[in-house]
């Protein structure tokens, strides 16, 4: 059972479960449900680290719409014992309510088997969001049952999903395109049932901390690539992957983020490496991903605990200057996006109020804290150095 038939639902969860499991998708967007059902198949293009793609055509799956076929969805949730969810943040609470109905049905039908659901999300504690929304609909007895039997398992979704190229869509208009990260790191302690041994899962602890650290140390890569790549006039990740100078700066920026993350989240290097995104940085990967996607929802991504500001402050507190993180962040304040209106809003703010006030506003930094003031100083200095002289 896979909730969300988007890039990661069809291109990551389905891929993980494709050997030996029957796939059932539960999707909100009715036109997609209809198209997949009519076509009866879709193609997954998986880009390889060393370049090129693998392609796999999925058939023999089921798909139901959570809005127009709710009863069917509840039926599926009531009988399954393993699944996953890959939606945006705003999908978690509605799923929680749907799951509550499934819990009631499981109880009614005497199904005491556990149900474990892997949650693919680039946000922290999505399990709490789902469980709270679910519990709001349950009685005390039902809640106790759900606590015991429903496992909401946080994961580190290291695979990237991005818009398919025109060629891919010509081949299959319902194609999905992802990178090929081979496993899903999961929270070992969150399972309620037996952990499947035939699915490539990496069992980890301290998952909430790891999720935060993942945003800081893995997602930062795209942010730095986008910021530096746009400065050089690039549009695609592929162009950045061919630029040795940018890759050098990205590598150091990630190292700065790791330095901050280890200290802030309390990992040893060995603990952290166990759950770390293992990827070859130098770009031979073929991808049609665009830079703009990496910094979409710019205001969120500039936030205090998000992928740039969070690790920058943490890195500085260890006694290391986050030179490349703050450089990328400075460039993000001048980011021109074809798709994200927030980028224009940020640039307008800088023009009207100056870079320093913009940093304080969007990054949530406070000048009365010495570390945060130094991060403001660094971003401002990089901005002046890279973007040009701006009157305060």
């Amino acid at each position: 059972m896979i909730v969300g038939a988007g890039k990661l639902g069809r291109g990551y969860l389905a891929d993980i479960f494709k050997e030996g499991y029957h796939l059932i998708f539960l999707e909100t967007y009715e036109p997609l449900v209809r198209s997949l059902r009519e076509q009866g198949s879709y193609t997954h293009f998986k880009s390889r680290e060393e370049g090129g793609y693998d392609r796999y055509v999925y058939r023999d799956f089921e798909i139901y719409c959570t809005l127009t076929e709710e009863d069917k969805c509840i039926e599926v949730l009531a009988r399954t014992d393993l699944g996953g969810i890959a939606t945006y943040k705003d999908g978690f609470a509605p799923f929680g309510k749907l799951l509550a109905k499934a819990v009631k049905k499981r109880l009614e039908e005497g199904n005491k088997d556990p149900l474990d659901i892997l949650i693919l999300a680039n946000s922290v504690s999505p399990d709490k969001v789902i469980r709270e929304a679910m519990n709001e609909e349950l009685t005390c007895e039902e809640k106790a049952f759900a606590d015991e039997k429903i496992g909401l398992v946080q994961t580190l979704p290291f695979r990237g999903g991005y818009p398919p190229s025109e060629e891919m869509l010509k081949e299959d208009p319902l194609a999905v395109s992802t990178t090929d990260y081979p496993e899903i790191p999961v929270d070992e302690g969150a399972f309620r049932g037996e952990i499947p041994s035939d699915v490539p899962l990496l069992l980890l602890d301290k998952m909430t901390e790891r999720l935060n650290a993942k945003i800081w140390t893995a997602n930062i890569r795209g942010a730095i690539m986008a910021a530096l790549g746009k400065q050089k006039g690039y549009t695609y990740i592929e162009e950045v992957n061919a630029d040795e100078d940018i890759l050098r700066q990205v590598a150091i920026g990630i190292d700065e983020a790791v330095t901050g993350a280890l200290d802030h989240f309390g990992f040893t290097k060995e603990q952290f490496e166990k759950g770390r995104h293992k990827t070859i940085l130098k770009g031979s990967r073929t991808t049609s991903d665009v830079l703009d996607r990496q910094l979409n929802n710019l205001k969120r991504k500039l936030g205090r605990n998000e992928r740039m500001t969070g690790p920058a402050v943490a890195c500085l507190k260890t006694g290391r200057i986050p030179f490349y993180i703050t450089k990328a962040e400075a460039l993000a304040f001048d980011y021109v996006s074809d798709t994200d209106p927030e980028a224009e809003e940020v640039r307008t703010f800088v023009k009207e109020k100056g870079i320093r006030d913009a940093v304080k506003h969007y990054c949530g930094l406070d000048e009365s804290d010495i570390y945060e003031r130094q991060i403001i100083d660094l971003i401002e200095a990089h901005y002046i150095d890279n973007v040009g002289r701006i009157k305060r």
Binding site: Q249, A251, I321, F323, Q374, I384, D385
Partner: protein, 411 residues
Amino acid sequence: MKKEVAIIGAGKIGKGYVADLFNDAGYRIIFLCHSLKQAKALRDQGFYTVYKYLGSEKEPIEYRIEGFDAFSTAEEFEDSVDALSKVNYATIQVYPDALPDIAKLLAETARKKYREGNTETLDIIICMNFIGSEKVLKKYVGEILSPEEMEFFNRYIGMGMALTFRLGARPLPYMTENDPLCSCVAESPDLPVDRDAFKGEIPEGVALRPLSKMDERIVYKLWCGNVNHACMAYLGKTKGYTYISEANEDDEVYFSARRAWKEAEFGFDQIYTLTDDEKAETFGSMRGGKNNSHHSRKNQRQAVDWLDRIGADPKRKLARGDRILGPAISCMKHGMVPFFLAKAAAAGFLFYNPEDVSAGEIQEYLKENGIEKAVEKYCELDTEVQEERMLRDLIVDQYHDLRPEIDSEDL
């Protein structure tokens, strides 16, 4: 007091600044230069031409200074000691590596005066952009003289720092064609001196500006005055410029230097006590307005000046305590990240002029040992101290950012 002055060091500052001021006031000048060739040339010609740029005028005025004596301290040491022992005033303007030789001259002069019972005061004005040079000189002198002689020295010989604001530039070809001994300068009206260092009277009629707190003022001048030019020189060279005017016209260079200066002001204010009035007084008319137009783009002097000259001897200019690292260390220790000072320092490690021995040494060391070790060595940073380790890392980051073509293996 006799209207005579011994000018030790007959370079750009000696001939074009100090001699000019004393000559204006009617003093007889005795040049004490190291080289016999130079001393003979001055004696033989009997004059030299001063080309002086006034304000923002494009063409310099020219005039002659004549009626002086000249001796070589290397080859006419006794004559030099004799001359120095008879005057009440002297100035020193040499490079720091000449200080041991100068100390020998001063020590022998003091010894001669002591033996002859010559208790006329000798006040020496040190015109060097080298913090603590009077202390260094005194230390060297103390290693030569006996305790009694040193006591005599301390009683009758005054040594104080001056603030050399006048630009001594390399003469243009037509100037040296007209007069191979010429000097080319941009005008500054006076010479600020340490009022508290004089044993005798302050020289009458000479455009000197006696100031107190000279220890702090020399640091302020270097950290918040000379820093601007040093930054422009090093950053300008990374862009392939030759002259300061080119660097001045480049927005990135100009504004990076301005930002570095602001960082330097912050660094200075954390340690020293000069008030705003005292700072303004330090620069005097060189400041030229409330926005410190000493650094103003419009106010840059018209004298042609080479970046190789301004950035010369990077070993000294990148050292701890000097114009870039001094304020940078203070900034780090007081909570400000000296981004632009570090950028200028990094550019200093890229500075190369085949005629500059100091720059050559740094480049050799860099090639063998890498940028991290080079920064530790030449900036004299103690990496056991967190702020200094962070500053080293910042300079290294800036260096790599200025030089993206280095091999990834270097990382």
